[in-house]
Point group: D2
Chain length 251, copies 4
């Protein structure tokens, strides 16, 4: 096409290539999802339909992009790991970020009726995303462990909170206040509180925590993703799936 005298403005576009040979992680997060889940009558503390819809949207992203080797999701967030050798869009941060969050958002919206049936989507959901670069495999695994530890802490907290509200008839404020003195110890993480109370509350709350988070990975012949509800902090997972972090060549 003919060039116009205005075209010089192209030079004001921000170029944002990501450093080579680092793992790229894009984390998608629901924006104002407290309100979104209230308005759409999500079951508390965890709504299985909501979690499955998140995973469905994540699978759409994953099948679209061979450079993604792993996805990890919990609550209203999903992290996508792009292989450190990935060359996608010349590793431009804005292109990678926006195509992930766009496909995630339109998939979540499109597949909503498959999970929530007659209950309609009242307004378009919004997800934000940010990008991080992890230079070493250890940094990447620590990132994923961080998200899983966060998942367990939050689940424990939310399960206790809703138990107090639903079974013991406390108000949300009373329940939150009560939990301030409960020690949370999970996966070696300790709060700074030094009294242990409500042991049984915590104990009974930790049933079936694994269903609350999902890991998506691909078989060695790419594209089709597998859903796992497994511990990704321990070495076992990484030993079982060595090809996830294994060397790959991308165009």
């Amino acid at each position: 096409m003919a060039k116009s005298k205005y075209e010089y403005v192209r030079q004001f576009e921000i170029d944002d290539p990501l450093l080579q040979n680092c793992w790229i992680v894009v984390r998608v997060d629901g924006k104002a999802f407290q309100k979104f889940t209230d308005v759409h009558y999500y079951m508390k503390p965890n709504d299985e339909r909501g979690l499955n819809l998140m995973t469905k949207a994540a699978q759409a992203v994953m099948s679209d992009c061979p450079d993604i080797v792993l996805a990890y999701g919990q609550s209203d967030e999903y992290s996508f790991v792009f292989h450190k050798n990935c060359k996608l869009y010349g590793r431009r941060a804005s292109k990678i970020l926006t195509s992930v969050v766009s496909l995630f958002s339109s998939s979540f919206t499109l597949f909503w009726p498959h999970f929530f049936n007659v209950q309609e989507l009242k307004y378009p959901p919004v997800f934000e995303a940010k990008v991080a670069l992890h230079p070493s495999d250890t940094n990447l695994r620590d990132y994923l462990s961080w998200r899983q530890a966060d998942c367990h802490i939050n689940n424990l907290y939310n399960t206790c909170l809703w138990k107090l509200i639903q079974e013991r008839a406390l108000t949300p404020a009373q329940a939150a206040d009560r939990l301030k003195v409960v020690i949370i110890s999970v996966y070696g993480i300790l709060s700074d509180k030094n009294e242990l109370k409500d042991k049984d509350l915590v104990h009974n709350s930790s049933s079936n925590p694994r269903m609350n988070h999902s890991t998506l990975t691909k078989a060695e012949k790419r594209f089709s993703s597998i859903i796992l509800h497994t511990d990704i902090i321990s070495n076992t997972f990484w030993e079982d799936y060595p090809y996830i972090l294994g060397d790959k060549v991308f165009k």
Copy 2:
């Protein structure tokens, strides 16, 4: 919540604040929309339903964000202008980019049936977005003029192309070949070809070009946006709406 030993990985997140006192422009673009419009039987060269759906999605973005003073759209793209004084998300590029493209994508998907009725969305649409910084008002206006000039050139080209295909029964390849020798002169933009042919073809194609692009702006009392199909290259528009670029204070 209790902090885990893994939390140090936060430091690998990319921080990307945008320079203060510059106009921020986010341009959303359809990804692989040639295929998308084919698969969804868009009318050629312009599908009014498709253009109106784009504008509906843009309006959703605009009402969500008081910092946007203008939006300009054509074909499968929309540009959003954030006021130079805007403080949204501490001007972090990734937050601004991703919340715009996410809301645009989920709105496009959610409102699809309102425009395309029984014809279903066959797969989730994807939009990419990039960000640019314009230091002066002139740079900003030149950016918008660039997009409008591009709109007219493309419309002229596509209108001619489809006229040759639909009315003169040329194949797409033959039509494209024929247009290589047509000089396009519109709004002062000249191609580098020096022969003028098919004058009537070009002339007849330029009817009603204004409907093919839309400008969204807000009344002085914000939020509700107005749709205009007007020339934004000339001074008239900017003199009629002086408050668009006028000084504003944001929190």
Copy 3:
């Protein structure tokens, strides 16, 4: 030359182009100059030899680079203003920053004996530099006003401090303590203290403040710089030298 298999590492270099159409300001600052001035017996509060050497080094930078339109210096710092249209080194931040600070440092070292005679340089001086981008003329002038206001505040403070030490025989600690209650009012800048004491101390200290800072600019036929000791906060200076901020074309 023949290329080696190692050359791929070039892609790990950081590219850092500066936004077009913004004023570029590089500020060079002495590193650990409190110690440097003590070790080299600088006269307090101001050592004219030291200030003149700084200006000599700044002139070397300025003659080397036609893209610099103004330099402003005080104490152990110098700011260099590159015209907003400048294309030097493709506006790469690191190239601009390092060639300025390198030439400044080697000039300061080379010309030292011209100003300090037999007193030898005991170790190589170090200067740091940072870069800032100013989108508007107002932002640029406010930057320069900020440095001049800082200069006057510091000079006033240091002059009072050394007067108390040298003339009233206070220890440095006593003098600093005493100055905590002195209100400093200069060029419209007010401290948050609300009592006015030691008026004569302040008054007598402000004699000849203009010599303590220097502005370098160029005649319209570039290269040769002029040294001024003038107020650059007021409009007068900018009206007298309109070509400083005037439009220019660089290659």
Copy 4:
């Protein structure tokens, strides 16, 4: 000190933190050193005084900064390797770059007479610097191998060139032309020429190449640096000095 209303301009400073857990390499390069060495009568192809002065300046940089674990120099360039765990200046690129290049420049200038005696420095030398981030140890070693391969290629070329000029009385242009057809094969690097001529020229030129480049490293008890003229491409060097890349903790 009292704050002025102009201080808001601080927000226009560019912040440029370097990614954590990556090796930081700053390469200092002489600017226009062809002319500089001509004007100062450097001996060709290599001037030992010049090389030693470069190394002296590099040692000044290295003793000043405990975070530098290795420096490698040849011709008019020196690369400084900052440990990947280094926290210096919050890893701000501009602070790291400018303090290295400033100290290098003032040291080169200050120590000039120790190496060139009565021959005076005719004008202040200028060095530029750029920064690169290497995520893995392999990337870092490949970077250093690249510089060493470059050193040998250049030395071979320059040695041949000056031999042709000095011993065979060719003009510089004739000599350069002649070398276009010489195959250079050194350290496994092959040019794309496929004819082998002047074997003896090349052979005789490669005597004592090791003196033309220097590696500075520190004993385990830091600060004092050791000068080596050794091959850093082979594994031997890295096996002999394992603590160079070993884990370290910085404040």
